[in-house]
């Protein structure tokens, strides 16, 4: 299946990629998506994960067409 991946802020700079369409096996978690998309870099422990713009945890299973986003701790306001 295919999922859309997005990286934000410092994570985008570290991974060197803003977003990508990623091919992955039919059963995959958000953490699997990270491994497929981040070029083998391990996922930093404080990374936040959102699937379809909702916070979730890295073990959440993703579906085909999902938007899977990874970003560092937020610093707005």
């Amino acid at each position: 299946m295919t999922v859309d991946v997005k990286f934000f802020a410092s994570l985008r700079e570290q991974v060197g990629c803003e977003g990508a369409s990623v091919e992955i096996g039919e059963v995959a978690t958000a953490a699997d998506v990270w491994l497929a998309a981040a070029g083998g870099k391990p996922m930093p422990p404080n990374v936040l994960v959102a699937v379809n713009m909702e916070y979730t945890d890295p073990n959440r299973e993703v579906k085909s067409g999902d938007e899977v986003a990874f970003f560092p701790p937020v610093t707005g306001g």
Binding site: F8, A9, L48, M53, Y55, P72, V74, T75, G76, G77
Partner: protein, 149 residues
């Protein structure tokens, strides 16, 4: 309860924003007894360094949805008539406002508590990220917001 959330690149003038927002919600006049407002402004100093500029990034779509949801949650916890959140993104200079949170209610307890609740959630969970430019031209990502309680 009314909810208005806005994210934009333009300069934020919080007091003008509040004046025009209240004009647009004139049907609440006479019912409102309290307004609780917070304005966050860029300082020229952060974590022991002089800061000359900042870039603010967000996650279009998720950020707005998250802010709308937290306003709705505040409306469940307190008796509110209206909520407004305006947040800047893009290039920001010292002394420029970054965020405006305003809450209108009948009684002051609700306005005070809901305004702080929305602001704390925004700081800890809304997807925004700051990158600071220092006086020597170098840039750094802000790593973490400070606790608000």
């Amino acid at each position: 309860m009314r909810v208005r959330v806005e994210i934009h690149n333009d300069t934020l003038s919080p007091w003008e924003e509040l004046a025009s927002h209240e004009q647009a919600t004139a049907e609440l006049k006479g019912r409102i007894g309290a307004a609780g407002v917070f304005v966050g402004t860029m300082r020229d100093f952060n974590e022991a360094s002089d800061v000359i500029a900042m870039h603010l990034e967000h996650y279009p779509g998720m950020t707005e949805t998250h802010l709308e949801r937290i306003c709705a949650e505040a409306g469940k916890r307190w008796e509110l008539l209206d909520t407004l959140v305006v947040h800047r993104v893009g290039e920001i200079l010292p002394a420029e406002p970054i965020v405006l949170v305003a809450v209108w209610s009948e009684h002051r307890k609700d306005a005070f508590e809901a305004c702080r609740f929305i602001m704390e959630d925004l700081k800890s969970k809304a997807p925004f990220w700051k990158k600071e430019t220092l006086t020597d031209g170098s840039a750094r990502w802000v790593e973490k917001n400070t606790a608000g309680y």
